[in-house]
């Protein structure tokens, strides 16, 4: 499979994990979108550095060819999947923790 295909598969899988399995409500929170915006800014910066300086290179056959800040668009999809899965698992573990030790903070 191409990088594009794998990245699409990853995004769909991660969204299904959040919406059907973990159900943390992360994607309904403004905090998530603000945090993701910050993460994307730094991703463009750091990934732009990695790809602009050609530390990491890509096979042109496996990407669609759209590039943002030197990096293939697929990297943003990869990053989205990684960041969303991390945040949803982290949030789920918090819910588990707080159920076990019910100290209401809200």
């Amino acid at each position: 499979m191409t990088y594009t295909g794998l990245a699409l598969f990853a995004i769909i899988t991660v969204l299904l994990v959040e919406l059907m399995v973990l159900k943390t409500g992360l994607l309904k929170k403004i905090e998530f979108y603000l945090a993701y915006a910050i993460v994307v800014f730094f991703q463009l910066l750091t990934n732009g550095y990695l790809t602009g300086r050609e530390i990491v290179l890509y096979d042109s056959e496996s990407i669609i060819g759209l590039r943002i800040a030197f990096a293939p668009f697929e990297d943003l999809m990869f990053g989205f999947a990684l960041v969303v899965l991390t945040m949803t698992v982290w949030t789920k573990l918090q819910m588990v923790e707080e159920n076990r030790f019910p100290i209401s903070k809200e």
Binding site: T2, I30, E31, A35, F42, R53, I55, V56, L93
Partner: protein
């Protein structure tokens, strides 16, 4: 610019740019190692497997002159392994940082704008 430390320099930047949040905003991310470690164990392996697969297919490859040259299991460079530890930690620090700061920002916005608010 950094020679064989070029990729490492980017990881160092990520570390510096994110870890201060823990202390500035009194977050409990780095100081909740059990929850952090569990998160990494549940998340990182999938992406490391993807990395290994993509490297084996040649989807992406590396300029070895800009890396330390230490290669771990599955032909994945050390820098990539560190990436899959440091980036999730940075993401979590950002999420908890925003969660902590947002109510404070909201209360600032509310105070002088009583006429504007409903």
């Amino acid at each position: 610019m950094f020679g064989e430390w070029s990729y490492m320099a980017m990881l160092g930047f990520v570390l510096i740019a994110s870890w201060w949040l823990e202390f500035a905003f009194k977050l409990r991310v780095l100081r909740n190692p059990k929850r952090l470690f569990t998160t990494l164990v549940l998340v990182s392996p999938w992406f490391i497997a993807w990395d290994a697969y993509a490297i084996s297919l040649g989807h992406w490859f590396f300029d070895r002159t800009q890396m330390t040259g230490i290669i771990g299991p599955m032909n994945i460079p050390l820098e990539e392994y560190l990436f899959f530890i440091l980036i999730p930690i940075a993401a979590v620090l950002t999420l908890d940082g925003v969660t902590k700061v947002l109510p404070i920002v909201r209360s600032w916005l509310k105070r002088p704008a009583r006429l504007v608010n409903k």
